[in-house]
Symmetry: C2
Subunit: 182 residues, 2 copies
């Protein structure tokens, strides 16, 4: 990377357009809140998974395999947006510990379709419940409709066309609150 080791003083003059352009004041409150809220949320899972020698990467794999049984490796790579080398290491650990199992594809036998085992489902569900408990506490102290509003906000944070895929997967877009409908 060309800019490695570059000093600050060397770059303040260049590219003035992007930095000095007049624009809205940054939403510092939202930026801070996204950081802290996500850390708390993900921390719930980290804690539970660490008891099995599994990290955050293992959790993500287990979560999506449990959610979508029969997922292929390529599909999982697209969802997680990691390289197959990265995926393979964590997937191998999940196979070793028997939280995930594979089955050759029926139509295309090159594919290795992924399934959570009974234990894998149990663990994934356990973590999902822990995270859902936090969400329940949250929506319990918020007004009616807060869950739908939060889902709509989070979905809108995702760029298309990924948004459309996720909307289809989660069923999160429920024809209310979208596009200024009020």
């Amino acid at each position: 990377m060309a800019a490695q080791g570059q000093k600050a003083v060397e770059i303040i003059g260049g590219g003035a357009g992007s930095v000095a352009e007049a624009s809205l004041p940054p939403m510092y409150d939202m930026i801070d809140l996204m950081f802290f809220a996500y850390r708390e949320f993900a921390g719930d899972a980290d804690q539970r998974l660490a008891a099995f020698g599994l990290g955050r990467a293992h959790h993500r794999v287990l979560h999506f395999v449990a959610r979508q049984p029969g997922l292929t490796v390529t599909e999982l790579l697209e969802i997680l947006r990691v390289t197959k080398q990265s995926l393979n290491r964590v997937l191998k650990a999940l196979l070793d510990k028997q939280f995930v199992e594979v089955c050759a594809g029926i139509e295309d036998r090159r594919q290795r379709r992924l399934y959570a085992t009974a234990c894998g489902h149990a663990l994934a569900l356990d973590v999902a419940r822990l995270q859902s408990e936090r969400l329940s506490r949250v929506f319990g102290m918020l007004p009616e409709g807060a869950r739908q509003q939060a889902a709509t906000f989070l979905l809108a944070m995702i760029d298309s066309p990924l948004r459309d895929k996720i909307a289809a997967m989660t069923g999160a877009i429920q024809d209310r609150g979208w596009n200024g409908e009020r």
Copy 2:
């Protein structure tokens, strides 16, 4: 860690209480959305910072130093919840590249108070604007009040007493929409 290397089959019988307990169905939609939304949001910053050879850890430090000039190292450690060894590596890089500078504390000269340089502020602002643009697009397509609702949701996701500190810092709790007030 005692459970390291443990096989799934060895643990399905034990601890049945925590896994088998009857409870609400997990909010899979919210769990998925938190993952994807945060990845998109943080990805904006990653991309911009990578041009300067800086990673996500550097961004977090720069962000909070720019937000709270004169922050001490101890205060920063508490905000980020990392060890001083972890912090020191990224902080040293920011000092080397002259995005951050230090000044001995006036009252307590052991303290090294941290300040963003002009370049540091420019970079922090640049990234904050990029993230704010995403947020603007989001709130532009959502109904009136969506920003306040989102801030309230995110704040509620954080456990007390951290929540109270952050609420004070961001001013995010604006006496509306809290605790079923409707």
